[in-house]
Each structure stands twice: as C-alpha cells, then as structure tokens.
Amino acid sequence: MREPRWFQWVRGVGLCLLTLFTVIPLYVMVTTSVKPLSDVQDTFQWLPSVLTLEPYVDMWSTVRLADYFVNSAVVSLGAAAFSVLIALFAAYAISRYRFRGRDAFRFTVLSTQMFPGILFLLPLYLIYATVGQATGIVLQGSHIGLIITYLTFSLPFSIWMLVSYFDSIPVDLDEAAYIDGAGPVQTLWRVVIPAAKPGIAAVSIYAFMTAWGETLFASIMTDSDSTTLAIGLRDYSTQSTVYWNEVMSASLVVSIPVVLGFLALQRYLVQGLTAGAVK
C-alpha cells in the first residue's frame, strides 16, 4: 500500500493523541506512587516535591495488603489451574470427537458469557449457603467458593481458544499414539498438550487475569478473612484521609505481574483469536 502524504500526517497526529491518552494516567499512577502524602492532599502537581519510596513501605501496614495479596494469589492461581485443566479436557473432546450434543454444549457455554453477572450473583450466593448448611463444605466467603466461581468465568473463552489450537494440530499424531496403546487422556497429555503449549500459556494468563481483577462477586462472597485485592484496596480511603500515594504504589505492585504476563503472551492470544474468527 503506498501511503500518501496526508496519511502520514494523520498517523503522526493520531498516534500522538492515542499515546497521550494512554500514557497520562499511567504517568500519574507511577509518579503518585513516589510522592509524600502531603503532595497528594494538595493541589495536583505533575512532579513530586520530593521523591520518596515511603508509600511502598507504608502500604503494607496501612491496610492488611499482604493478606489480600495472598488471598488473591490463592484464588487466582487456583481458578486458573482448574479452569485450564477442565478446559483442556473439554476442548479435546470438542476438537477430536463428533458426538451428540456437541454443538449444543458449545453454544450453551458460549452463551453463558452473555449472562449479566448480577442475574446469578444472588442465587449462587444462596446455593453456596444451602450447600454449606447441608454438607458442611463452606463455599461462602471461602477461597474454594471463589475458585469455583471464577474458574467458570474464564472457561468459555479458554475452551474456545483451545479448540482452535487443537484443531490446528494434525490428527495423525493422535492416531500414532493410539496405535502405541495410549488412551485418550494419555494422548491428550503426551501428544496434544506439548504441541499446544503457547495456547495453554495464553489461556492461563487470561484465566488468571479474570480472577485477579474480579470485583462484583468478590464484593458479596468474601469475608474479612478472604478479602481479595479488588475489595481490599478500598481500605486505603478512611473517614479522614485517602492515602492516594499508597493506593498507587499498591496498584502498581499488584498490576506488574499481570501486565508483564499479558504482554509476554498477547501474541498467542491473537493467534487463537484469529484462528477462531477465520473459521
């Protein structure tokens, strides 16, 4: 495509605007996290009056950040691990077998993406309470309850992505494994999974991010022992002050793992997206 002059201008200006729009809030986040408290209580300044790392130290004692961090890590890792494992089995079935109900299953799972969370928040809460009363398994306010809830949030997309990855792996490989006497699970484990590693990595980070950022269900389904970061970070605003500098330093620390993971793996997410869209 030959580019006329005007397009080069439009591109330059457009990219500048988009960059400013993206960068300014990020800049505010980073600089605020190294400001003393008096700075954030005063009129906004673009530069800190003094550079200080105090917010990064104090943020752990102002609220129980470490506890929230552990809760979020347990819940998100658990949800991601189970979600990917379950999605692997389901995607393998959809990709390699033709069976009755296959399309119905695909459609149902995808359509759950459409449900407004608010619709099943309360019934789910009551179901968890009822299960707790009946069996003694505490789902409400516990890590396991959140793990179960969150794993289903990423399941539809994970299955969809993995099906398109699996479809691109030649079936001959499976058949070779079958001839060697492997069952379906062994074939999945030894043949398909090693060939779909990038897709699995991408799906894992997606599932992790989904759980790490969830707020609506966390607002109802956690108690003071299982508070996740999404809810816990609000504790920095007290009646008298908001510790904005600590909010930003905590936000930064909390964001870095997911942002790096996402940027490292977004290439594979795109591959899965295009493979899915082409079909």
Binding site: M114, S251, Q271
Partner: protein
Amino acid sequence: MTVTSTASTAPSSGAEPNGSRPRRPRISKRSVPYLLLAPALFFELLVHIVPMLGGLWMSFLRLNQFFLREWMSAPFTGLQNYRFALDFHGAAGVELFQSFAVTIAFAVITVGVSWVMGLAAALFLQRSFPGRTLLRGLFLVPYALPIYTSVMIWKFMLDRSDGMVNATLSDLGLGGERFWLLGNNAFLSLTVTAIWRLWPFAFLALMAGLQSIPTDIYDAAAVDGAGLWQQIRTITVPMLQPVSQVLILVLFLWTFNDFNVPYLLFDQAVPSSANLISIHIYQNSFLTWNFGLGSAMSTLLLLFLLVITAGYLMLTSRRSRNA
C-alpha cells in the same frame, strides 16, 4: 507387537512384557467425549445454569428481608415483581427506565468510540517503523491492568476540586472547578474511564483481523487507481466484518453488563447519570434486600440482551451474505 489371541481366558499373571496388546478399555468408546466434558459441564451448571434458573424462579416470589432466611418458603406472587418493575407511573418503574436509557447511551458510545480508536490504531501500526512494537505494547497496558487499579487511577485524577483534571484545565485557562464524579459530569467520567480500559481490546482484535487480509488485494486496488481512503473504505472495513461482528457484540455485552467501573468509581453514591443497570439492580437487591424485585429486573435484562443478540446476529449475518 506379540499376538496373544489365545491368552483371552488365561489369567495374566503380570508376565506380559510392556509391548503387549493393550487391555481393552473398560469404558465404551462412545462415552469418552462425555466424560471429558463432564467437569466443564458440572461447573457451568453449578455456577451459571442452575443459578440462572433459580433467579428466574425467585423473580416470581415475594423475597424480601423477611423471607431471606427461609428463602425456599417465600410466598409466590406471580407477576407482581414484573408489574412493579415495569410500572412507569411508579417511582421504581421510572428509575428502571432511566437506568436503562443511561446504560444504552453508555454502551453505544463506549463501543463506538472503542471500535474507531482500535481500528485507527491498528491501521496506524500496520506498517512497521521504529518504535512500533513499543507502542503496540503500550496501548495494551490499560487492558492488562486489573480493573480496580485502572479505575482507581481515574478516580484520583477526577476526584476533588484540585485533582489532576481540574488543575490541568485551570492551567490551560479553561478554569472553573467542576465536580467530575457528581451530577451529569459523572456520565462523561464513567464513559472515558471505560473507554480507556476497553479500546485496547478492540485494537488487539482488529489488529489480528488486519493481518488476515492478503496484501495483494490492496496492490490490485492501487493499480485500479483507488486512493488510500477508498481502500480503507472498500477493502479494509468490509474485510474486517467477521472480526468486527463478533467484537462489537462482545464489547456491547461487556459494557451493557458493566458493574465494576461505576461501582469502583463512585463507591456507594452512584449519581443517576451514571446509574448503569447492573448497579441499579445490585442496589435494589443488596441494599433494600428485595431480591424478588431484583431478580425480576435481572430477568428482564437477560431477555433484552437475548433479543438484541439474536437480532444483531440475524441482521449482520444477512448483510455479510448479501455483500
């Protein structure tokens, strides 16, 4: 492989070497896919399908704080909750309608702007130049951030009379301290915040779509004398239609159901100009403890989304077939 067809009745005393004939699987072959699907199905049923049906059931009950403990014995009221929610002469009906209108406006603007920005950025970054990879990564950062951190940043910038936005406006001589998180300004704040964290997803999807368009089509068009703008209009946008179709639907459903951005941006006091439908239902259910009414509203919301989705898919599929 050793042939051991005669060993069918003989008890195998573990003497068979590793390469022997595999044991016949105990489970029939036809049940294998169902077994593989079972865990996914179980959790989808537990967390999505059964609660959804439960919500449907609850919408016909008089389920308020008096019956919550014994929710299974709450009295059946038929369509009472629906009648109440849709009574546009009463306060509840008017509020629901306002919230609905706000949500539509919010979703249409957010999705439209995100799509345009995403397409522009994808086109700008199509050709390689120094710094392209850097910009591409940078644009994706807001989407990768956990929702609550991105909303916190915007809350900090918009908050207070001397926050970042007001301070900058007065530096630029556009003075006047405004309350961005109150009144009608709240709608603008909500929309900008939502766009900031959503448009990178449109960018990501459209960038992937652009890569699948073969470049020789452009060359052919250029030979025919089509300018760049014409090429974008007559080749790029139509060729992106399959990606855009899914993308716009997904973005619409996400923004229409959005809870996080308003909930985190305004805390408990969401101004009516930013009172999205999810917030409205949440407040009606969990603050007033009227879960029957909340469920009726949620069911209406689901019905609306079903109709919109079906209509949209029919419309866009027909158009792409005619094209």
